[in-house]
Amino acid sequence: ETESVNGLSLSEYKRYGRHMVLNGIGLPGQRKLKSASVLVIGAGGLGCPAVQYLTATGVGHITIVDGDTVEVSNLQRQILHSDAKIGMHKALSIKEASSHINPNVTIEPVLQAFTTQNAQAILESSQPDVVLDCTDNPSTRYLISDAVVIHNRTSKRATLVSAAATGYNGQIITLCYNDQAPCYRCIIPRPPPVQSITSCADDGILGVVTGTLGTLQATECIKLILGLHNGESAMTVYSALASTPFRTMRMRSRKHDCYADGDQAFDKKLKSVQDIDYLAFTGAQTCGTDLQL
């Protein structure tokens, strides 16, 4: 299995054949996937299915950032973890599970929360083509978007795919696709009032809803890497119980007065996420801990 033809081993041709035959993929597409780098922030309900399908499809380099460890209450949705891994770092657990799905993929676990302190360094070292926001709280969502905006001013552009799920509902939006595309702040300039956010541990979530959203994040990511994305700033909203469960909406472009990526003069631009207190901005505690019964 050491023999390689045009950058893929014979076993990779066998493994990926069922999608390499598709229009829009082929050998060039598989090579794009293999050389791509994806940064997944959050190794929970969204991160598990997202990484699962990125790995199976042969995305070459995946960095997973999460400081949490596995708890039993995660297991109704975080399908790459298991009882035997309770107490293990989630990012390590995903690395272990992914190695069974596809040993050709390199997984880089980062065993820390994504914070104002490490945000720029993680983006700098992973140089992602796509960032998946798989986190579970508003503070980190603004932080990730701001960090990507700052990163994209000087580095290879990373597109941001942000998803969320609560109860029977989910949402996904692709951001920062190009200079005219919105960031997270363009779409939600002001955070919701604190009383409208139930604390993370109180939020119920039907596990399979995170499964759908995380799988759709992987799909967006694969389309972006393959150049099959139409570049539209669309948001898809999902309600598992509605008679029209999915709606896809065309969203605004970048806002010229956006705090992060607006048209301000250079010296007025947001320069560092360390200048912002994200918890104070959203008024919400970070979370990530789960319901303790």
Binding site: G42, G44, G45, L46, G47, C134, T135, D136, N137, P138, R141, A163, A164, A165, T166, G167, N169, G170, Q171, I187, I188, P189, R190, P191, P192, P193, Q195, S196, I197, C200, D203, I205, T210, M235, V237, S239, A242, R247, T248, M249, R250, M251, R252
Partner: protein
Amino acid sequence: MSVTRNLKVEFGGGLEILFNDQRQLKITLSADGRNPNVRDLIKKLADEHIQERKELFVEGETVRPGILVLINDCDWELRDELDGELEDGDLVVFISTLHGG
């Protein structure tokens, strides 16, 4: 002279809880001597269709932060936001943005 519009209104992202767990409403909206707009619709919903916790839907004359307004599957920012005039049969969707994962 009063101008009247028949609209379909939908709620998502959990916002339906504020509206008696109704996901869809049919709303007849009128304005005097001009076309009804989104500002009128938000006022009517807040005045006539929410019993409690109005502040989880409105802030002043607009929706609270974190609620997206979509008209015929387009962000309302592409259609003049509060001043956007509504046509008969328009579908207006109010979505609460989510943060869990």
